[in-house]
């Protein structure tokens, strides 16, 4: 039997289909978010299944997560992205203790206990600074793409200090620095450091390792290093960092974590209880 997780995020929608036996990835897909959220999620789900030669009847349970989780009426249940993210990460890095997730419009820090269960979490979803959206704004301002921002930052001789706590004012600050002929590379690096500093503030001095980095922003070269520098400890980029919450949702749908490689018995019971 197969199980699926659908993560309806603020900027993208992700679908992951796994196999019951080993929790192995069977198929996955991602698309941009839009106006018709529920329909887009459904189209992506059908597309992912179709490409793998599967039909809806092959999937016995679907869990929705993310901002739009309640809009996915065809899912069997909805579980928050905090819980899904935790499980998606634990399946990859069983001894993970801290998750840093930087998505399109929010950032979160999730701390896990020694059993791999959520201990506590902090979210920044009131302001764009410290999110993927902020980096997008900056990339446009520096006339580059989001993916090339990291390469640009690597060339920085001396990262700029961006101190504004608000994305809009930070942009104004950048405009001022550009006018003062600051090198774009320094600005790109400065912005990455600014995002990293905000995450460190969210952690409030309580960082347990290993630290795993998820969300779309983890794909931007240099961000993990900026976090690593700010935290003064190694930061592991999750495998397919945008997909971990959807993967966690699929694993919760499966509810057979004890048979999943890397998952503890406690996590298995946890999943059963969450269902």
């Amino acid at each position: 039997m197969l199980y699926a997780g659908v993560d309806v995020g603020s900027r993208t929608i992700k679908v992951v289909v796994i196999d019951e036996g080993l929790g192995q990835l069977i198929a996955s897909g991602i698309c941009d978010q839009g106006v018709r959220q529920a329909a887009l999620a459904h189209d992506l789900f059908k597309q992912v299944l179709g490409q793998a030669g599967l039909g809806r009847e092959d999937v016995s349970r679907v869990i929705a997560t993310g901002y739009g989780r309640s809009a996915v009426e065809w899912a069997d249940a909805a579980v928050t992205e905090i819980t899904c993210q935790a499980y998606g990460v634990i399946a990859q890095v069983p001894n993970a203790r801290t998750i840093i997730d930087i998505g399109g419009q929010d950032s979160k820090v999730i701390r896990l206990d020694e059993r791999g269960l959520v201990y506590d979490f902090v979210m920044n979803d009131r302001c764009a600074a410290g999110t993927g959206r902020f980096l997008e704004i900056v990339a446009v301002r520096l006339e580059t793409g989001l993916k090339d921002l990291g390469a640009m930052a690597e060339k920085a001789a001396c990262p700029s200090i961006i101190s504004s706590m608000c994305a809009v004012f930070a942009e104004t600050e950048i405009v001022g620095l550009l006018a003062a002929e600051e090198a774009p590379a320094n600005l790109a690096a400065g912005v990455q450091h600014s995002v990293a500093r905000r995450i460190v503030a969210m952690l409030a001095g309580r960082v347990n390792g290993p630290v795993v980095f998820t969300g779309g922003v983890a794909l931007i070269p240099g961000m993990a290093r900026a976090l690593s520098d700010a935290l003064d400890r190694n930061v592991i980029i999750a495998e397919a960092p945008q997909m971990t919450a959807a993967r966690g949702a699929a694993l919760i749908a499966c509810g057979q974590a004890r048979r999943t490689a890397g998952a503890s018995a406690e996590v298995g019971k946890f999943l059963e209880a969450v269902q």
Binding site: I82, V118, F121, A273
Partner: protein
């Protein structure tokens, strides 16, 4: 605990027949009618701003004490024309009511009694004092110090004189005693109602319990309904069944009338607020006044001085109470509400989080918000995640 309270689809017994809860649905109107009647009979209406003000002194002076804390989001914007935007919504809303002349109780008040609690309130009272007759008590904030208590006693003696002079009455010990009897009864009845939530299957929701409070404490008609309520609620079942919900100990700032949104949100997302530790919940009713004390005013002062508000330093009493309440009410997690920019509660949240996680061994969530509903979805996510964590841990511990 799961499964002890019937099945998922069980209907709320006698949900629609009102009973005593119906009386409290019209509470603001009830209080208004009462205040107008008493005022027409010559009794002064006296506004109070905080649970530190001893209602008994006002009642003994023949006055009607009315709580004036603003809970309306609509009153925030007018207040921001005068007050800084970076100020807690409770202070702004209270002041906005004055600017808009929108609180009939404030408009009919002959006096407003307040005290030096947080800086925001204290300075707002200076502005309010330009618009209404005000008397501000100085609240000493080192609650364990004997000389601080003596100062508080002296402040209450001054208030007694002020009330006597202003309303041309004598506050005799006998009158004070009568008022204490009424208020002790009020607190006992409220404690009994709140105590129903200790049950494995509480017969009412936290939202319903919060709805039974009154802007004017000690009203005879309320006491009658409180007495009836306990019997009426016996055997009542709520939906979703109490056993299916996560039991929440709610702490932090008070939720004034109109600002109950967060409590509703917690209960709409699978929680049951079994205990409300704040000033709109049990904090003011947990301690009574010793009616037989040789100096009744000192006994009165002691009860109020013991209120574990975050303006006190240190405020160990709050942590001691939280620990006791978590046990008595079988809480499964702690949720703290902090009005944005309420510095004292926000900073003290560190100690509450440590208590919950390290000592009580239960998940803790701080909700920082204001009166605007704009963050409903964001707060729901946090609350749902917290409940998933609670259930997940239970699955591990008992599975």
């Amino acid at each position: 605990m799961a499964g002890c309270c019937g099945t998922k689809d069980q209907v709320v017994a006698r949900a629609q027949d009102g009973g005593p809860l119906e009386h409290f649905a019209g509470q603001v109107q009830n209080c208004l009618a009462y205040a107008r009647l008493r005022k027409s009979q010559g009794a002064p209406v006296v506004g109070i701003m905080c649970e530190f003000t001893p209602r008994e002194l006002i009642m003994a002076a023949g006055g009607v004490p009315v709580c004036l804390c603003g809970g309306s989001a609509e009153m925030v914007e007018p207040a921001e024309r005068v007050l800084p935007a970076n100020l807690c919504p409770l202070i702004k809303s209270t002041f906005g009511y004055s600017l808009e002349k929108a609180n009939p109780f404030l408009e009919m008040a002959s006096l407003v009694v307040a005290e030096t609690t947080c800086d925001g309130k204290k300075k707002m009272y200076e502005l309010l004092g330009q618009r209404h007759p005000m008397y501000v008590l100085e609240l000493p904030q080192k609650s364990r110090d004997a000389d601080a208590f003596e100062h508080w006693v002296a402040e209450l003696r001054k208030l007694r004189k002020e009330l006597e002079a202003r309303f041309a009455v004598e506050i005799t010990d006998e009158k004070l005693k009568e008022a204490v009897v009424v208020m002790n009864r009020d607190r006992r009845l409220k404690r009994e109602l709140a105590g129903l939530m200790q049950s494995a299957c509480p017969p009412l929701t936290g939202r319903e319990l919060l709805g039974m409070r009154s802007l004017i404490a000690g009203l005879p008609q309320d006491h009658e309904q409180y007495s009836k309520a306990a019997a009426w609620l016996a055997g009542r079942e709520i939906k979703p069944a109490a056993g299916k919900r996560v039991r929440v100990l709610l702490t932090g700032v008070p939720l004034p009338h109109g600002a109950e949104r967060v409590l509703g949100l917690i209960e709409d997302n699978g929680g049951l607020v079994v205990c409300q530790e704040s000033c709109s919940g049990e904090k003011p009713v947990l301690e009574d006044i010793d009616i037989d004390a040789p100096d009744l005013l000192r006994a009165l002062a002691a009860k109020y001085f013991h209120l574990p508000c975050s303006v006190m330093t240190p405020n160990d009493r709050r942590l001691e109470r939280l620990e006791a309440l978590a046990g008595e009410y079988r809480a499964e997690c702690v949720i703290e509400v902090v009005w944005r920019t309420c510095l004292t509660y926000d900073i003290e949240a560190q100690a509450v989080k440590a208590l919950a996680e390290d000592k009580l061994r239960m998940p803790y969530l701080k909700i920082e918000t204001d009166y605007s509903p704009s963050d409903n979805a964001r707060l729901s996510l946090r609350v749902q995640s917290l409940f998933e964590t609670v259930k997940g841990r239970q699955g591990c511990n008992h599975g």
